[in-house]
């Protein structure tokens, strides 16, 4: 027997191994982001005048992890007294130091904040996810890097303001009161604080009640960056603190991001006071898919448009307008794609959809979804299993939705999509614009000229073509109609923070 023959015999003796395992689901093992490197203090105070101080109320409220309902820490409940103190500190810092600094000097501080955010990005991402419920892959890859990018971007403008507004004298406004929402806690703080500081203003920021922790980490970063005391003040608390801040007479400018309802209240309070105001409010964005669109990618855009951050996105593409000739394949693909979304522990790196931010928000989503069913729309929900504890809602869409349905009119702010169909571009434009909101819109078509035409006709501040939910510090963001006014980001984002003469 030759050697080759012997070898062949050995080979033949080997059982024909399983050509491939039987059809089974590939369960990805848990891949949890480590939390070992993060320590959250059991109690947090207010950040006023460069120091952490106890609240006037001597009260601290609990802040939880919405994925587990476990308490993460206690946070100071700021009241009108604390707000007043913070505004006075901001005023003093404005008069004494910040407004007198050259742009180059201000830029140094802002660059320092940006770098410190990058250095602490892992911890910030973990805390953002624990406190807000968003998937770690989003806080790690989007929220935190974008927050740093905003500081970098506006640091660059600080010494170039006369080029931003050529032939004008540019001066700061004074003390800016900034109230931010819970859907992108650190990122919204960055959107607000970075342009204000670059233009030479000082700030009193009130983070959302349910997500204060990364703002307080930002306070530590600001302290570490050595900003003059009082340039940035952070007052945590509930609606009372927000109301006190927006109505404080010592404030020169108010920037608010949140619900249209609260925005209107602030606008009423500001009327006649001479304070500057920018509002970034709700939305009910149309995402319009034409029959010539790249359908598989459009489905990705639809999913990213509405299920990104559990749909807690003011510019979420919550109304899908799909041309009737492709409605069948688009919805088939959408159903299949939703089935692959991984809902669960936000700290798992493979999680696509995390926890709903709060019980109150979950109740609101449930109520609106119930109304959709009651009004006769057809519901499709992912059959994914949901954790026992915490606040969860499966990715959902409604088809057969009428323009007059509540789910086509009201902002749900959750992972719920309303699908409507259209026949012609004119009809798409008419129905897309037929809403009190006007924050954003998406257009999916291979035809360039149609994209341009749609962009001209759609009444929305941001229009994405063949993509959705893309953000960049250089690009202005803001709304039409009840979605607010004023722009954040880009050169436009500086304008609300400067006085031009």
């Amino acid at each position: 027997m030759t050697r080759n023959e012997k070898n062949r015999e050995t080979l033949e003796r080997l059982a024909p191994g399983p050509a491939s395992p039987a059809v089974i689901n590939w369960e990805y093992s848990a891949s949890l982001e480590s939390t070992d490197h993060v320590s959250i203090a059991p109690r947090h105070n207010l950040f006023i005048g460069g120091r952490f101080v106890e609240p006037h109320s001597k009260k601290w409220f609990s802040t939880i992890n919405p994925a587990t309902e476990e308490e993460l820490s206690k946070v100071a409940e700021g009241d009108a007294e604390d707000v007043d103190r913070a505004v006075r500190e901001a005023r003093r810092a404005y008069e004494k130091s910040w407004r007198k600094l050259s742009g180059t000097e201000r830029a140094k501080y802002i660059f320092r904040i940006a770098r410190l955010i990058q250095e602490k990005s892992r911890a910030l991402a973990v805390v953002e996810t624990m406190n807000g419920g968003k998937p770690i892959k989003e806080s790690r890859d989007i929220d935190i890097p974008l927050a740093a990018a905003h500081f970098f971007y506006y640091a660059g403008w600080a010494d170039k303001l006369e080029y931003a507004f050529p032939n004008r004298n540019v001066s700061p406004i004074g003390v800016a009161a900034q109230i931010i929402p819970w859907n992108f806690p650190l990122l919204m703080a960055a959107w607000k604080i970075a342009p204000a500081l670059a233009a030479g203003n000082t700030v009193v920021l009130k983070p959302a009640e349910t997500t204060p922790l990364t703002s307080l980490m930002l306070a530590e970063i600001i302290q570490e960056a050595g900003l003059p005391p009082g340039v940035v003040n952070i007052v945590t608390g509930g609606p009372a603190a927000g109301a006190a801040l927006s109505s404080h007479p010592g404030v020169d400018k108010i920037a608010f991001t949140g619900s249209t309802e609260v925005g209107k209240r602030i606008e009423r309070a500001v009327a006649g006071t001479g304070k500057r105001l920018t509002l970034e409010l709700g939305g009910k964005a149309p995402n319009i898919v034409f029959e010539d669109a790249p359908l598989d990618q459009a489905v990705e855009g639809i999913v990213n448009g509405i299920y990104f951050n559990q749909g807690h996105v003011c510019c979420a593409g919550s109304r899908l307008f799909v041309q009737e000739s492709v409605a069948e394949p688009v919805l088939r693909k959408l159903r299949q794609r939703i089935g692959t979304l991984r809902v669960g522990n936000p700290l798992d790196k493979n999680t696509d959809v995390g926890a709903i931010n709060s019980q109150a928000q979950l109740d609101k989503i449930r109520e609106l979804v119930q109304s959709g069913t009651d009004e006769g729309a057809e519901i499709f929900q992912s059959s994914c299993s949901l954790p026992q504890r915490g606040f969860w809602f499966p990715p959902t869409f409604f088809s057969g939705v009428a323009q007059s349905s509540r789910i086509a009119q009201e902002e749900i702010f959750g992972p719920v999509l309303s699908v409507l169909t259209f026949r012609t571009p004119e009809e798409a434009i008419e129905r897309a614009n037929n809403t009190p909101y006007g924050l954003s819109a998406g257009v999916w078509t291979e035809k360039g000229s149609r994209i341009l035409k749609m962009a001209q006709k759609l009444r929305a501040g941001v229009i994405w073509a063949n993509t959705y939910n893309k953000f960049d510090p250089t690009s202005p963001f803001g709304g039409f109609k009840e979605s607010g006014f004023g722009r954040e980001g880009g050169l436009h984002g500086l304008a609300p923070y400067v006085m031009l003469s």
Binding site: A19, S20, P21, N25, W26
Partner: protein, 318 residues
């Protein structure tokens, strides 16, 4: 049109695998490159650990077409490859054999006997691989001979020249002819995606191949600058999914070339799993064309088994 051009079409119309070119072109809808690449990149970020990693790596081995396609191939070289194919890691009986050994046609009968009853299949490239620039009759003859020599699977190349000049009917007919010449052998159609220029073209070529009778569609020969990539594989899988919805027929997918490490192989399986679902997680419907990938996977598996990485000296170079 001449008599001879029409006649073969009429005779072929009865073949069950052969469908209409017009339907293929209708399904060749546009692909957005930015969004497709973004989706592939996001799938590549899946973090696979522990059991799910080991399961995926073993599956990857069982889906592998272990390949050698060189002018300098000899029986000695090919024999070593066959042994590796049947028993990739003699120290670990849990490691499955690969799916197939992929060689040039002249090696088929030798590989067939070397593999014996192992269950590992013999795949032969044919039709003037890799360029496809030869006479149609020779392509058919080459295919027939490879099958006669024992090939279970034929990896053909499409005529990219004809495709790029818009002669889709020619490309379609040639695939159908080769499918006929394959007889019982499975046909994998290599699109050579690196030659096609963009995703729209890749989608069009995928549809033409499936409608003409391909059992598998395959990205590359491994002989051009750009071989398999994740987004190309994603786009081709989406074609397979649409074809399956329309016809109820399951077509296989084979990315080939450039898949050189475990992490990348797992990323391909993630793209497969999350695009096609568990039904496609079988070597009947997915293959990885690779030569150097196997040792990297073995290295990873041994690390998972023993807790330590071992040097390349502990894995055979075949």
């Amino acid at each position: 049109m001449t008599e001879t051009a029409i006649a073969p079409n009429l005779s072929r119309a009865v073949a069950p695998y052969r469908r209409a070119l017009a339907d293929a072109l209708e399904l060749a809808i546009p692909v957005d490159a930015v969004a497709a690449e973004e989706r592939a990149a996001s799938l590549a970020k899946r973090s696979l650990k522990k059991d799910s990693k080991v399961w995926g790596l073993k599956l990857a081995i069982s889906m592998m077409d272990l390949t050698t396609l060189e002018g300098k191939d000899t029986r000695g070289k090919v024999y070593a490859l066959c042994q590796k194919a049947v028993r990739p890691d003699p120290s670990d009986p849990e490691v499955p054999p690969v799916a197939a050994v992929c060689v040039y046609p002249t090696m088929v009968s030798f590989v067939k006997s070397a593999l014996g009853q192992s269950g590992v299949k013999v795949a032969a490239v044919a039709t003037g691989f890799p360029s496809g620039q030869t006479f149609p009759a020779i392509k058919i003859a080459e295919t027939r001979q490879a099958v006669a020599a024992g090939a279970d699977e034929i990896d053909m190349v499409i005529d990219r020249g004809a495709f790029l000049s818009g002669h889709y009917q020619h490309v379609f007919d040639e695939i159908a002819d080769i499918k006929e010449a394959c007889g019982p052998a499975h046909l994998k159609v290599i699109l050579e995606t690196g030659d096609l220029g963009n995703y729209d073209q890749i989608r069009r070529a995928s549809m033409i191949a499936m409608f003409a009778g391909a059992d598998f569609i395959k990205t590359s020969t491994g002989k051009v600058g750009v071989n398999a990539t994740l987004p190309i594989t994603l786009v081709m899988l989406e074609c397979i999914r649409d074809f399956y919805h329309l016809t109820g027929k399951k077509i296989g997918m084979k990315p080939a070339g450039g898949i050189s490490n475990s992490k990348l192989a797992l990323a391909y399986l993630v793209v497969l799993y999350e695009t096609m679902g568990p039904e496609w997680m079988t070597s009947d419907l997915f293959r990885l064309g690779a030569s150097s990938l196997l040792n990297d996977i073995l290295m990873q598996l041994r690390k998972e088994r023993t807790g330590a990485y071992q040097s390349g000296d502990y894995f055979t170079l075949d």
